[in-house]
Every structure is written in structure tokens, then in C-alpha cells.
């Protein structure tokens, strides 16, 4: 692994000062579970590492009036086990519990999972369906919030400019009528990279679907929100025929590739299956 400078700011003020000083030369590290393999393979050659892993402000998980705030450096293991996350965003906790393995979950962070912007990022589909916002700090210390769907721009490409860092994830509290479902399909049960995943948030009013939020992982160049699928369901009566009617729209929304974990045809078929199962569960069980 190439030589690198390593700095660990003690608080947010120190971080802001270092970000201003190093600007685009800085690469952020927390758990390092993505970055270190990339540095070892030479895919990533950072000059200066700023370690944000232990920053208190970036580790906080807090429930506010209308949203849940999750620090970017909160570990995946903590999110999976956290009582507040489980109570208000159970699909996020469920997805976190399926990321990697117990050892990687102890170091990997939610900010890293999103910043890496892999199409198979496990926390992305639940956060997309929860309409989460990503809070970003720039090199001048200015903050902005970007909807997660806008944050992902393409394959491993995000809204982060060089030298910018994710400080926290803001998840609007789902209304009490909203129910969620999540399925991750891997090639095995342990330590699997996702082949296809779906997250659904649904609100039923009497017999109608009042609100639908649908997101997919590993079936497009980035984790995606399926807006046309959501529009198709909203306002419709919860009828079993919807399951077959929605299929052509679902197939238009996704754009999977064939790779070592599955062919395009398999991903198309199986994505429809796991989506419909979640819908069935939410509407009729």
C-alpha cells in the first residue's frame, strides 16, 4: 500500500480546519472497509487521510420531532441494533443487519456505504424508500442537504465534490400509517454481496394505497427510486390484479447487467418476485 498522510481531528472544528487546509487532497476514512481494499489494490491512491471515525458529532443517532438523524460515522452494527432506528425505520435496521458480516459491520459506517455509491450498497434502498437526505459539509464548512436520490448520480458517482464529506443522514419520520418491507437476495446467507434488493414503504387508507415508495439495489448503475412504479400504485385499490399489472412498469424502471453474481434475465425475474412478495405481505397479511 502506498504511503499516505494520516490525520485524526478531535472535533468538528478541527475537521473543518483540516478540510480547508487540504481541500481536494483529503480523502475521508472511517471504518475503512471499502477504502483499505481499494488502497491495497491501487484503485484508490489518497494523499491525505482524514479519520472521521471517532468524531462524536458524526456518531450520534438522535430522534427529533420530525426526523431521525444518523451520524455518518455510525457503524452498521450499531444501526442494526439501535432501538430508535428499529422503532422508527425498521427496514433500515433490517438492511444493516444483512450488510457484510459481523466483523465488517463493526467497522463499516452508513456514510461510507453511501459515499462509496455502489449499486449494491445495502443501506441505500431502504434510505431511498424513506426519502432520506444526505447532509454534506464543503471545504468552507458550509452545510447542505441533498435528497439521497439526487446524491447518487451514477455508477460510484455522487454529488460529493472533492474535499467534501457526509456529516449525517436525515431520515424523515415515516407517518404512523406507513409500513415497510425489505428483501436482499444474495448468493448465500452469509457475507453475501447483493444480487438484487428491494425496499418498499406503503401507506394504506381503507382499501386504497395512499402512498408508495419503492427502491431497488443492484439492478441499475446506482441504487434507484422507482417513481413510475410508485405513481402506478398510488390512489389505486389494493387489488391482487395490481401484481401482474405492475410488472411491465417494474421492468422499465430497472436496468440490470449480467455479472458473476447473476445474469440480466435472472435479475429481472427475481426482482419482480421479491418486489411482489413485499407488496403482498404489506397489503394482505
Amino acid at each position: 500500500m502506498q504511503t499516505v498522510e494520516y490525520l485524526k481531528p478531535a472535533d468538528m472544528n478541527e475537521l473543518a480546519a483540516l478540510m480547508q487546509q487540504y481541500a481536494a487532497r483529503a480523502t475521508f476514512i472511517a471504518g475503512g472497509t471499502n477504502l483499505i481494499p481499494d488502497m491495497r489494490s491501487g484503485r484508490h491512491r489518497p494523499e491525505v487521510l482524514l479519520d472521521i471515525g471517532d468524531l462524536k458529532a458524526m456518531n450520534a443517532i438522535a430522534l427529533n420531532d420530525d426526523h431521525l438523524s444518523i451520524g455518518a460515522a455510525a457503524t452498521i452494527a450499531r444501526i442494526a441494533a439501535d432501538a430508535t432506528v428499529n422503532a422508527h425505520c425498521p427496514i433500515l435496521a433490517a438492511a444493516a443487519a444483512k450488510l457484510g458480516n459481523p466483523l465488517t459491520r463493526n467497522r463499516a459506517t452508513i456514510g461510507g456505504n453511501l459515499a462509496n455509491a455502489s449499486p449494491c450498497a445495502d443501506t441505500a434502498p431502504p434510505l431511498l424508500s424513506l426519502e432520506a437526505l444526505v447532509e454534506i459539509m464543503d471545504v468552507k464548512g458550509q452545510q447542505r442537504q441533498v435528497p439521497l436520490d439526487k446524491f447518487f448520480r451514477g455508477y460510484k458517482w455522487t454529488d460529493l465534490a472533492p474535499g467534501e464529506v457526509i456529516t449525517r443522514i436525515v431520515v424523515p419520520k415515516p407517518s404512523s400509517g406507513m409500513q415497510g418491507g425489505h428483501t436482499k437476495l444474495g448468493l448465500r446467507k452469509a457475507a453475501a454481496i447483493c444480487v438484487a434488493s428491494v425496499a418498499v414503504m406503503l401507506e394504506k387508507e381503507n382499501d386504497h394505497i395512499a402512498k408508495a415508495r419503492v427502491a431497488f439495489g443492484s439492478v441499475a448503475p446506482k441504487p434507484i427510486r422507482a417513481y413510475r412504479l410508485e405513481a402506478f400504485f398510488e390512489g389505486k385499490a389494493a387489488d391482487a390484479t395490481l401484481l401482474s399489472q405492475c410488472e411491465p412498469i417494474l421492468q422499465q424502471e430497472i436496468a440490470p447487467i449480467s455479472d458473476i453474481r447473476g445474469s440480466e434475465a435472472y435479475r429481472r425475474q427475481v426482482t419482480a418476485v421479491i418486489f411482489k412478495r413485499n407488496l403482498q405481505e404489506l397489503l394482505w397479511s
Binding site: 504511503t3 475503512g32 466483523l103
Partner: protein, 164 residues
């Protein structure tokens, strides 16, 4: 440029000077000569380099040594008592033939210690879930699962004896 770090490894204090790109596993194996911790895949998939850092199991091959400055680390060498008396988990691994080639064993034992600390009465599913990041290519896992179960029972017995 090398940076100064302090580590408490198996209760022993070390002051070390390491380059920022040095991996924790290399400090443990090469600087400290604690070769019980194994290097396997180097990409966080096999669990051979499992270490307890401030009580949490982490992968030595995905952790920078500078990032754990000030931490207390337990390696497999720190599991038995100083006089060599084996830990209940180690005894159970021997008694249940949970070891074949032995490469995964240090990681498995540390994960078992971690599980039993959190959950003294694990089910078989709990045990299998907890060792999902530790790959064994010899035993087929059954012996390992039996051993962890046996260690849990012995621990409970031991506690009962100590209390009674």
C-alpha cells in the same frame, strides 16, 4: 513519516512507531510477533485476522494501526490464562474436534468469546449467525458450533459453581 501509537495488547503496553499505511495485522504479526492471528484473504471476507479491539471483533487486515491508537487489543495469545490454563472456549474446541487445519481457529475462538460475552445462552442459529464472517474450509462448521454450545454450558456450570 512514522507516527507514534500506543497499544495495550493482551494486557501488555507497547509504544510503537508505524507508517500510517501499516495494517493492524502487520503490527500484530510482524512487530509484536504474535503470529496466532492469521492472514487470509486480505480483503475482509475470511475472518482469519479477527482481533478484539476494545472488546469488539474487527478485521486486522482492514484496519490501519494508526486508527486504533490507544486501544486495548486481545489476540488469540491473550485468551488462555498467563499460566497457560486454557479458556473454556479453547477447551471446548479441543474436546469437540472443532479444529482441523487450525487456520480459522483463532478467529473462531475470538468470535465465540465475543458471542458468549453478549449472549451467554446462544441458540445454534445465534452461533451460526455470529461466525458468518469467519470461513472454515475443513470442519463443515458442525464441530465449531458444538464447541461453542459446549463452552456456553461449561461457562454456566462454572458460574454456578463459583456462586454456589
Amino acid at each position: 513519516m512514522k507516527q507514534r501509537i500506543e497499544l495495550l495488547v493482551n494486557g501488555e503496553y507497547h509504544e510503537l512507531y508505524v507508517a500510517p499505511n501499516t495494517l493492524l495485522i502487520n503490527v500484530i504479526r510482524e512487530e509484536l510477533q504474535l503470529t496466532g492471528t492469521k492472514y487470509g484473504c486480505g480483503t475482509g471476507q475470511c475472518g482469519g485476522c479477527t482481533l478484539l479491539v476494545d472488546g469488539e471483533p474487527v478485521l486486522g487486515c482492514l484496519t490501519l494501526a494508526v486508527a486504533v491508537d490507544g486501544a486495548a487489543i486481545t489476540t488469540i495469545e491473550g485468551v488462555a490464562a498467563v499460566d497457560g490454563t486454557l479458556d473454556k472456549v479453547q477447551e471446548a474446541f479441543l474436546d469437540n474436534n472443532a479444529v482441523q487445519c487450525g487456520y480459522c481457529t483463532p478467529g473462531m475462538v475470538l468470535m465465540a468469546k465475543d458471542l458468549l460475552r453478549r449472549n451467554p445462552h446462544p441458540s445454534e442459529a445465534d452461533i451460526r449467525h455470529h461466525i458468518k464472517g469467519n470461513i472454515c474450509r475443513c470442519t463443515g462448521y458442525n464441530g465449531i458450533v458444538r464447541a461453542v454450545k459446549a463452552a456456553a454450558e461449561r461457562q454456566i456450570e462454572g458460574d454456578a459453581n463459583a456462586n454456589g
